[in-house]
Subunit: 159 residues, 2 copies
DNA sequence: TGCGTCATGTCAGCATTCTGACATACAGTG
DNA sequence: CACTGTATGTCAGAATGCTGACATGACGCA
């Protein structure tokens, strides 16, 4: 029973999972009144910061497949929160952009999500936040390089 | 565009998600040759450390619903990796335990997973690991209390 | 010009996990 | 003993995300 080193009480992986699960639940709770899921919010947020993104590019940024992004975007488009330019400027990629309705909804969502994140972050010493970000990023980088490219999604990010 | 505070480059939530996504992918990669998913591995691991657990208790420990655990356990039982005592000692709870086959497979899985986690953790200064665990735990606790009980799963953990 | 490759959008099917619901078994209370 | 409450196991359906596959448009190259 004394295996290599899976002490549950000090597994970083488990601690990460717990934190993410709690965060996701909390975000779900504040986004539900707005009729958004966490994935949908992530899409809107990215789209606001990078208008004209294609669906495939958006998928990479939100760490899902472009198929998943496709169905998700369909729902958002039907609700009038975003629109896709009818004219493909270059290849097949259709630039996406928020409608004014979508932008307004995103503002509410951003405020709510920011409150959740602020509350979470306030649970630790402010001086450690920056270091924490660096460490988490180091984790992702270490794991991604190990497994070869295309770890988070099916392609590299285009930057 | 200058909203409350959703600077993507320094969002703790996003950093957490990236790290967890990368970790999950890496674990999937090493567990796939063994025919296990991350969820299945988590079940086996918990079961090895706490033999006699009921399915519902296992669900709480692995942060899923007992319905999900049920279907997952069915698969593991059919593969002969675990067995449930036919006699309910008390209520309806059927104690679960690993078979020797399951224990052997878990040993391989544990070794593989430990290697992934070790590799991830080695990306940061060893002195910060303990603090990181404390901080992540503080995140989860802060979020859980906010949203009321029953955040991670549908019930509190029985400890 | 024609062909191979790649990225994208899209459809279909499958897997996983969730919510909802129901039956059962025990504990507590009258 | 009967009634209520709680915990568990289990089934059914829906939601979400994945893999696989295909068609299309752009680009590089002979």
């Amino acid at each position: 029973m004394t295996q290599p080193g899976i002490d549950v009480t000090r597994s970083v992986g488990l601690a990460l999972k717990r934190a993410v699960t709690s965060l996701r639940t909390a975000m779900d709770d504040v986004l539900r009144p707005l009729g958004l899921t966490v994935s949908q919010y992530a899409c809107l947020e990215q789209l606001a910061q990078r208008p004209g993104l294609s669906a495939a590019a958006l998928a990479r940024l939100t760490f899902v497949t472009r198929q998943s992004a496709h169905t998700l975007l369909q729902g958002l488009e039907e609700r009038g929160l975003l629109e896709r330019s009818a004219d493909p400027p270059s290849g097949r990629a259709l630039p996406l952009q928020l409608t004014s309705t979508g932008a307004a909804l995103l503002r509410s969502a951003s405020t709510a999500v920011a409150a959740v994140e602020t509350h979470m972050v306030s649970a630790i010493d402010a001086n450690r936040v920056d270091q924490l970000l660096v460490d988490l990023d180091a984790f992702a980088s270490a794991l991604d390089q190990e497994a070869g490219p295309a770890s988070g999604a099916q392609d590299e990010l285009p930057q």
